[in-house]
């Protein structure tokens, strides 16, 4: 049907049904993993739980299994590779709240990661003259501090529309990095050594959480990741999540419909920042050392690439994207030098050919809930595409 020439047709029932079919096609059949997603949605709830448990068990066993083909190259320790993947996945889940759910482009996300890292380091490292607290306590503290910075940055800038936010966050990322260099208390390039770790010693007297053994850290990170996923999933399905999607799709319309857009944007920003801070604290603990060199714009863009690659707005996609972005340079060390170039090109190419990423978000059906989703999916499966329009008409009556 042409929409460019001649007067617009009055939308009749047929056209409406076509639109519904198109919509359902778009939402159910998008993605490289569309058949998988379809099959997933056909499973009953208990089956899904069992399957999820298996996936989680495999995820936990990953550093121990060390699968031959996908293991990292000899120079890179496999458990630490797993840890990097988990941390990137956690960061991507956090950034996904900001970019994917609420549609706010944050180009300085690494700043929150840095805030979390520095919080953990300054409260635990012997190099820091301040109050010392046990490492595990720094996780919530880092979250809170990062959230505070998120609100601090969000309140003035989120009143602005769209584009400016991108450049202001980019600037904020740079400011945090520069301040880490200038302020003597942050120790610039010298940084902080011996950042704390969770308590506990193994049988041989060495601490369980050491900087050379990634496995316990990986387990800790992945546990945190699962908790965050559950929380983020609940948020996504709540009133807050619906408000975010509404803001992302059309801010004016959302405002007119009575969504307090500013409030929810600040929430998205703060929650995203909190998760960023949390992952920063985990990363600082696992590495045991931080200085001002790690928190540059490039890392911010890598985080963004992870979210966009996985499918902005889809938390499973974010995990996948984060893991892939961390994994590829460690698996194929030959491309490690090219990673920024590659992910830069990936961003451009994805936006042109596949703006929804590997696992597209199911934004349009989110509001209607899972029941509707299953119904539409079942309907479009039941009929061959050519007659889908008329048959749906029949069932709808």
């Amino acid at each position: 049907m042409s929409t460019t020439d001649g007067p617009t047709l009055i939308p009749d029932a047929k056209a409406e049904q076509d639109a519904i079919t198109r919509e359902s096609n778009r939402t159910t059949r998008g993605g490289f993993f569309a058949p998988l997603a379809d099959r997933w949605n056909r499973l009953s709830r208990p089956q899904q739980w069992v399957f999820l448990l298996i996936v989680v068990a495999i995820a936990y066993a990953l550093p121990v299994l060390n699968p031959p083909l996908i293991t990292s190259e000899p120079g890179n320790d496999w458990p630490i590779t797993c840890l990097q993947m988990a941390i990137f996945a956690l960061v991507a889940v956090g950034l996904n709240v900001v970019v994917g759910y609420a549609g706010l482009l944050d180009l300085g996300y690494v700043a929150f990661f840095a805030v979390g890292s520095y919080t953990a380091a300054m409260f635990t490292s012997p190099d820091s003259p301040y109050l010392h607290i046990p490492y595990l306590w720094t996780l919530p503290v880092a979250m809170a501090v990062a959230m505070f910075f998120g609100v601090l940055l969000g309140v003035p800038t989120l009143r602005l529309r769209g584009d400016y936010l991108a450049i202001v966050t980019l600037g904020f990322g740079e400011i945090v990095r520069i301040l880490a260099t200038i302020i003597p208390a942050m120790k610039g390039q010298v940084g902080f050594q011996n950042v704390g770790h969770p308590p506990g010693t193994a049988a041989d007297g060495h601490p369980i959480f050491s900087n050379s053994n990634g496995t316990p850290w990986y387990w800790l990170t992945i546990t945190v990741l699962i908790v965050i996923l559950l929380l983020a999933g609940n948020l996504e399905r709540s009133r807050v999540g619906r408000a975010w999607v509404a803001i992302r799709e059309d801010e004016d319309a959302a405002e007119i419909m009575g969504v307090p857009t500013f409030k929810y944007k600040v929430w998205a920003f703060a929650i995203g920042a909190g998760i960023g801070g949390l992952s920063g604290a985990l990363s600082a603990g696992a590495t045991g050392f931080i200085n001002n060199q790690k928190f540059d714009v490039q890392t911010s863009i890598l985080f963004l690439a992870a979210v966009v690659l996985g499918g902005s707005g889809n938390k499973v996609g974010a995990i996948l994207g984060g893991a892939v972005v961390a994994y590829l340079p460690l698996r194929f060390t030959a491309i490690a030098d090219y990673k920024y170039l590659i992910f830069g090109v990936v961003l451009v190419v994805l936006m042109i050919f596949r703006a929804k990423g590997l696992l597209p978000a199911r934004q349009r059906l989110l509001a209607y809930g899972k029941v509707t989703y299953a119904r539409v999916a079942a309907r479009s499966r039941a009929e061959p595409p050519s007659t889908a329009g008329t048959k749906i008409e029949g069932t709808a009556q």
């Binding site: 970019v99 549609g103 482009l105 180009l107 012997p126 190099d127 820091s128 003259p129 003035p156 800038t157 602005l160 769209g162 584009d163 400016y164 991108a166 450049i167 202001v168 980019l170 600037g171 904020f172 740079e174 400011i175 520069i178 301040l179 260099t181 200038i182 302020i183 003597p184 208390a185 714009v297 490039q298 863009i301 963004l304 690439a305 966009v308 030098d337 090219y338 920024y340 170039l341 992910f343 830069g344 090109v345 990936v346 961003l347 451009v348 936006m351 042109i352 703006a355």
Partner: protein
Amino acid sequence: MLSTLLLQVPMDDSWISFDIPSLMQNFWSATFDGLTFGAIYGLVALGYTLVYGVLNLINFAHSEVFIIGCYGVVFTLTSLGFGPNVPTLGPLAIIGDLLLALIVGMIASAVTALALERVAYRPLRKRNAPRLAFLITAIGASFAIQYGIFLVRGASPEPAVTMFQPTPIFDVFGTIVDSQQIIIVIAAIILMVATDQFIRRSRTGRGIRAVAQDPDTATLMGVDRERIIMTTFVIGGLLAGAGALFYVMKVPSGVFYAGGFVLGIKAFAAAVLGGIGNVRGALLGGLLLGLIGNYGQILLGNSQWTDVVAFVVLVLVLLLKPTGILGTSMGRARA
């Protein structure tokens, strides 16, 4: 042991200090230097402002358009025999070589800008992509170009190129103004006035203003929108290339793969300060930001502060007057 030692070290809380006497002492030299940098910011800011006016897009990759112009200038000058030392050529020969470098830089930047438009932005426009997609593409393209340069040229800056020995021209309030500063500021102002007049008076300029005001109506009135967009990118590229020559003149060893990035953000801040989408605003914002950055740097006593000051100014402007000093509209600038 180490920790107890560190605990006894008094924490230095004077990480920020205001060195007002130094600012007073260096006020005029900071002013002239700031104006010189400001002129360069202004030239780059024009590229942001023009594209934003026409497409409502922050062209993040404009900083890479600029840095490619810098490489064009440096390569031309090196192949003409310029080096770190002051060249021993006659003034006419130097002027000729500089003009050649200017032209090469402008063409290099314009070609990059045009390629960017064709490869990255046009496919998105065709499929009516959301704004977020444009921004992500822009930042991705900026990155790809930056690291493309990195892979070819490495991390270290290009060897410095000295174009001529700045000679003192006159003396204001006891501060010497040299020929370099005069050349940069005057040339930049001439270029910007020419651009302004082009957009206000020429037929293409009218087309640019029309598309900025209302793309659909402009198309209906017979303006070729695609051609106008391409022209806008080319003009932005040409000006960035010119800015590149002056940048190399002012900061001979500042040409490296990420050199454009921070300058680009500052130029964007300048564009917003003056009123994004407004051609005269870019000039005003550029000069102001150059001054503020330089004063801030001397006041706070560390060159890294320039960037922080620029960002803080950007945030303040966005908070207090998001439309900038001269207002944002290119279309409504003149009926």
